[in-house]
């Protein structure tokens, strides 16, 4: 793939939180690409570092002085991490826009939708008030809001969650960003509304040739919209591949475990759901070696001491010494794992 195809390229990104005593790793050596017009889904459980990664690209993590960010984030050959606050502020709302999980708490309760949208638009361009209003209505219509006048006059509390999320997306899109960062944009919404929002994001990226980095914990959502799936665990990217590959033949035992424990919607119901034992480790006390090894069914003695690098494997990349796609190692060598949360 030629380099000009890439819009965003994260290389060895790390985020550490200095809690006064020591640095707690939230993101460790995250490497991923987002190509033009592509939807990349960043999936993982709570504490995997997926949201922190997206917020760091947007330059939001850095606003907290206790956070230390390392590595590079090339956006069109410009390293976002090297920009000063002023240039980063200009990138936001022009090249980059972000949609958050909680639409109601991301909108300002004391201003109407109209004044919040106008503020966003004015940062980008100066238009006559009349042209501004036309642009706002157009933006709302684009996201499927038809009674624009009522919505523009409303305060956020008067709108439903789905409606607020549409307003957030409209606001993000007013800037015609080249990269949309969406952090669990549908998690707080009902499934029928989620279906509408996902379709909207998918349609807009085709029409606007926008790239999307979508953070989600829901493998179903990823299967629905992703062009590529990046799985994170305990702050690291553990697998990166096409959805066809990830869902049919996951390479990392964690990805496999995540998929196995989702109850099926058709066919026989398993008597016992194949759960992953234990729980996600706290970033302040990560296990040595591969962070997943205490919960891994495929763990080898080596996994307890050495953290595997992200390497090509069966059409994608995976960070694992004993991926599911390789022939299983002889049983006696496996480290026995069981246990519960």
């Amino acid at each position: 793939m030629p380099a000009r195809d890439h819009l965003l390229r994260l290389d060895g990104v790390s985020v550490e939180l200095d809690n006064g005593h020591r640095d707690i790793p939230l993101v460790r050596d995250a490497t991923l690409d987002v190509r033009k017009g592509e939807i990349v889904c960043l999936v993982g459980e709570s504490g995997s570092g997926k949201s922190v990664t997206a917020r760091t690209v947007m330059g939001l993590t850095q606003l907290d002085r206790r956070m230390k960010v390392g590595g590079t984030a090339l956006f069109d050959d410009v390293d976002l991490f090297s920009l000063d606050a002023e240039r980063m502020r200009r990138m936001r709302g022009r090249d980059l826009a972000m949609v958050f999980q909680e639409p109601l708490s991301s909108l300002d309760p004391v201003f109407t939708v109209e004044s919040q949208l106008r503020e966003g638009l004015r940062r980008r361009e100066r238009l006559s008030p009349k042209a501004e209003t036309a642009r706002l209505s157009e933006a709302l219509q684009e996201v499927g809001i038809h009674d624009c006048e009522r919505v523009l006059r409303s305060y956020p509390h008067a709108l439903s969650g789905g409606m607020c999320q549409r307003v957030m997306i409209a606001m993000a899109l007013l800037a015609r960003p080249r990269l949309l960062l969406a952090d669990e944009p549908t998690t707080a919404l009902d499934v029928t509304i989620q279906a509408q929002i996902l379709e909207l994001i998918d349609r807009l990226r085709h029409e606007e040739d926008m790239s999307v980095l979508l953070v989600t914990h829901d493998m179903g959502v990823a299967a629905e919209v992703a062009d590529r799936v990046v799985v994170m665990y305990a702050g690291r990217v553990v697998e990166d591949a096409d959805p066809q590959k990830v869902f049919a033949a996951p390479a990392h035992p964690y990805t496999g475990g995540l998929l196995a424990c989702i109850p099926p919607m058709v066919g026989a119901r398993p008597v016992v759901l194949p759960a992953i034992g234990g729980s996600v480790p706290d970033p302040s006390s990560l296990p040595g070696g591969c962070a997943f090894h205490p919960r891994c069914v495929n763990a080898l003695p080596r996994c307890t001491t050495e953290d595997p690098p992200l390497e090509p494997e069966a059409g994608g990349t995976v960070a694992c010494w004993n991926p599911l796609t390789r022939e299983a190692a002889p049983a006696p060598e496996l480290v026995h794992n069981g246990g519960s949360a």
Binding site: S46, V191, G220, S279
Partner: protein
């Protein structure tokens, strides 16, 4: 009334031993929609004439989107709230008008596991005293009898009894939910209301807790009213499922039947919108337009007609009858028989 007959018939077929029967139960709230003190309060019909019967030893799944009234129905069913009208029979006793000591005794038999394990556990109490509290209050257990019983309960939900001194904050989300479950089973209840009990947990932990709930049902002969918005998890645990929309149960059937052969257009839309982790599945998406109307001002006739792809004139005029699709399958829709049975 046809509605009652239909759903009771469905219940009788199983083995005719209902533990909990709701007959035409409604829960209405008076809400002020204006700051003008002379403006009359409006009636919010959270639950509106629901009849339902739950068999001993079964898991009845209740699904629906936010605002459908499923949590209110659950709270009324276990008498955390009193119904506005209708009768509730628990174990042969009419409980809708119970109060005081009588209700206290009934509540011993009906326990609740809530969604947010941290919010429903007292942060200042140790895990052991949280689990032991119902035993102290209701059974007067003290000293080593109490400690032994608490340790036994902790073991039965997969917690290490040596953690009895820990505070909820020191536990992981899954462990906290295990504490909530241990507290709920402490008094050997007959019925457990699980209101979104696994929804807030990480997927891998969700599977563990789901397995635990199923295991306890079998070991202790429990009956569950299992409320959730996630369809896959309901399919996994429930024998029968009811689908709620704006205060009514619009469809009830055996789980496999409901998922394989949904009759109500809303149930179909819900199933179609629920994402599956398989990118090769490109099902026909029934995307519902708009959002549910407010229960303060319900549409005339059928409540679903404003979003229904099949709505016709009759739907605006007459409330739909309860159609008996099979002895165990009822649906409230004008087109139930003509819509592809």
């Amino acid at each position: 009334m046809t509605a009652v007959v239909g759903i009771q018939d469905a219940g009788e077929r199983l083995d005719g031993d209902p533990i909990l029967t709701l007959d035409e139960v409604s829960k209405h709230f008076q809400v002020r929609t204006s700051t003008n003190p002379f403006h009359p309060a409006s009636t919010l019909r959270a639950v509106d004439g629901v009849s339902l019967s739950i068999e001993r030893g079964e898991t009845f799944g209740l699904v629906g989107e936010s605002g459908s009234g499923k949590s209110t129905l659950g709270r009324v069913a276990v008498r955390l709230d009193a119904p506005t009208s209708g009768t509730i029979t628990f174990d042969g006793q009419s409980i809708e008008n119970q109060g005081g000591e009588q209700l206290r005794r009934t509540r011993r038999q009906m326990q609740v596991v809530f969604q947010d394990p941290l919010g429903s556990l007292n942060p200042r109490m140790s895990v052991g005293s949280i689990i032991g509290e119902p035993l102290r209050v209701f059974e007067g257990l003290r000293g080593s009898t109490l400690t032994d019983r608490v340790a036994e309960l902790m073991r039965s939900v997969g917690l290490d009894p040596s953690r009895a001194a820990a505070r909820p904050r020191a536990l992981s989300g899954g462990q906290r939910q295990r504490v909530g479950i241990a507290r709920a089973i402490a008094l050997n209840p007959r019925l457990i209301l699980a209101d979104e009990a696994v929804s807030a947990l990480d997927v891998s932990v969700q599977a563990q807790i789901t397995n635990l709930l199923v295991d306890l049902r079998e070991r202790l002969g429990l009956t569950y009213l299992f409320i959730a918005h996630g369809l896959p998890i309901v399919r996994q645990v429930a024998q029968r499922v009811g689908v709620m929309y704006l205060g009514r149960i619009v469809e009830v059937a055996d789980t496999d039947d409901l998922f394989a052969n949904p009759q109500h257009p809303y149930t179909r839309a819900l199933l179609a919108a629920s994402p599956v982790p398989d990118p090769t599945v490109r099902r026909e998406r029934i995307i519902l337009h708009g959002e549910p109307p407010t229960p303060l001002n319900l549409p005339s006739g059928c409540r679903f007609r404003t979003r229904c792809p099949m709505a016709a004139e009759v739907c605006a005029q007459v409330a739909p009858p309860v159609v008996q699709v099979s002895p165990t399958h009822t649906v409230e829709c004008h087109f139930a028989e003509t819509s592809g049975i």
